[in-house]
Point group: C2
Chain length 332, copies 2
């Protein structure tokens, strides 16, 4: 028997699932055997993994025999339904959905921040929300160095966060709009071509949407500091695959932009990406296909002491999802 | 001689100039005579004004004979060069550029907020920056009612802010991207189709760009309160003509969302536009072609007392430019 793990990818035909296959390959994750699982609708397709063509099988409770690592990215409902079966079969589940993230029994992990948390797992490890990951990668080293008190974040989120079909819908609706043709949307509730809208996840009674609450709560859990104050406004913009965020960060003490840059230049998982002389900063196109979170445009907030503004871009499918999940699997 | 004014529109062929003609017509501004001025390149074209077809003439220092109201929207350079000539010829200039906005001798006016300021003019009245107008229309009544201490704003700005050619460039680049064809940009420094970028106006040594500094300074001047603290992050998104903004507003005291809605429902120049039950909020498409600033999504900030989040959309060409300029002219 060759070395390595029997890995299952659940939701293998989705936008994140496809990236997972590429990331496993690119990072030479020790895969001994690979099981591709998806809904009945996608079963029967074949997907490439390096030189091989592998069949996609229907996800069922008995799909996990012999599986050691199961990467789930098929939505919260599938995770709740099938992750327990995978754990029962002996697999460790890395779950990209929101199903288990706030479960106190389940570690919520960004490997650059809290790798030690994986040790406490009881079968399931949760992969955080994509907008949250993008924010915490630079926030954590700044918090460690200077103490963050409060963050006001506004997001500019890409179609990829809603899946491969959403990316296709944005392209198709844009084409129809340019040709002045009618278009029937299947995924988004409002026009998306040349338009934007506050994130359409359900509101709770605070008036925050689910996506925003994730950024508030998951950030605290990952960084391990319940006193960290975060408010978020999440907005879907007509961009294909990388999220951008404008952060306003209040610190416990005075921090100069130079000090913040110095900390970020040495922190893992991110890259200072800017050309100040040319007034150029990271854009979603720059961030697409890149592993690190791109950060820059750090300046002192003119309206308040001890506060900096920061701009970031992160590939939602990579660090926001597939890459982080595979990095978690690498910790095992 | 019939009643009404001899009006000149400077920059008549531009995106804002064209809207000015429509707004003058729609609001039945008492136009006795209309002079259309533009660069030599556009001179000789004709434009419709109601039933009439009018020639566009080249803008020169002697273009203003007999003109009583001159609406300038041809960039700061043209305003600095030609507004003094218009004033000398006896016209009152309403200037849509940034050339005179922060001049202490020049009133900076949003008619819903500081109409009385026009009385102090010495020939020139400045029309504020479009992102600033959108923000101050709801901010001012909230400030009057509850006292605003600090605003953190992130913008989602449309192509129209950079003119008609910029809107065309967005459409053309999007078409080329969908067809996988090369595209040479003339206006924007970076890919704009399915992409976004921090506003490309020049940086000053604080690291803020000009657009952001306008939102900080002009807001104070219009509202007439130098203690008002504002920080802004301005971002250009691939949307055609309405700007959106996410505001985080800290008040001097506790304000409930209900109290804020009540004040905004009675304030001029804006409209509460939302369907909370359906999780629908104003989008740029909703705001395009509409006079009022659309506001909503008001919620208590979970991270800080006395603080609300608010979402707004404003047609950059109307309230952000042409409509506000014509409203100023109406005050005269």
């Amino acid at each position: 028997m060759s070395r390595g793990f029997h890995v299952a990818v659940v939701g293998a035909t989705g936008a994140v699932g496809q990236e997972m296959l590429q990331v496993l390959q690119r990072r030479r994750f020790p895969v001994r055997e690979l099981t591709l699982l998806a809904s009945a609708r996608s079963a029967g397709k074949t997907l490439r993994f390096g030189e091989e063509s592998l069949p996609v099988r229907e996800l069922k409770a008995d799909s996990f025999k012999g599986v050691e690592v199961a990467l789930f990215s098929a939505g919260g409902g599938r995770s709740r339904e099938f992750a327990p079966a995978a754990v029962k079969a002996g697999a460790v589940v890395v779950d990209n959905s929101s199903a288990y993230r706030m479960d106190p029994e389940v570690p919520l992990v960004v490997p650059e921040i809290n790798p030690e948390a994986v040790r406490t797992h009881k079968g399931i490890i949760a992969n955080p929300n994509c907008s949250t990951i993008a924010m915490v990668v630079p926030l954590y080293p700044l918090h460690k160095a200077f103490g963050v008190k409060r963050v006001v974040v506004a997001t500019y989120q890409a179609a990829s966060g809603a899946g491969a079909a959403a990316m296709e819908e944005l392209l198709a609706e844009t084409r129809a709009t340019l040709e002045n043709k009618p278009f029937t949307r299947a995924i988004f509730p409002q026009q998306y071509a040349f338009n934007l809208f506050p994130h359409n996840s359900p509101l709770d009674d605070t008036g925050y949407c689910e996506e925003e609450i994730k950024m508030v709560r998951e950030t605290r859990k990952i960084i391990g500091d319940e006193s960290l104050r975060v408010t978020a406004t999440c907005v879907r913009v007509p961009v294909l695959r990388a999220h951008s965020e404008a952060l306003n960060i209040e610190f416990a003490r005075d921090v100069s932009p130079e000090q913040a840059y110095e900390v970020l230049r040495q922190a893992p998982g991110l890259e200072v990406h800017e050309d100040r002389a040319q007034n150029r900063w990271a854009t979603p196109v720059d961030g697409s296909g890149k592993d690190p979170v791109l950060v820059g445009r750090i300046r002192r907030d003119l309206s308040q002491d001890n506060t900096l503004d920061l701009w970031l871009v992160s590939d939602q499918l990579l660090k926001g999802a597939a890459l982080n999940a595979v990095q978690i699997a690498e910790l095992l």
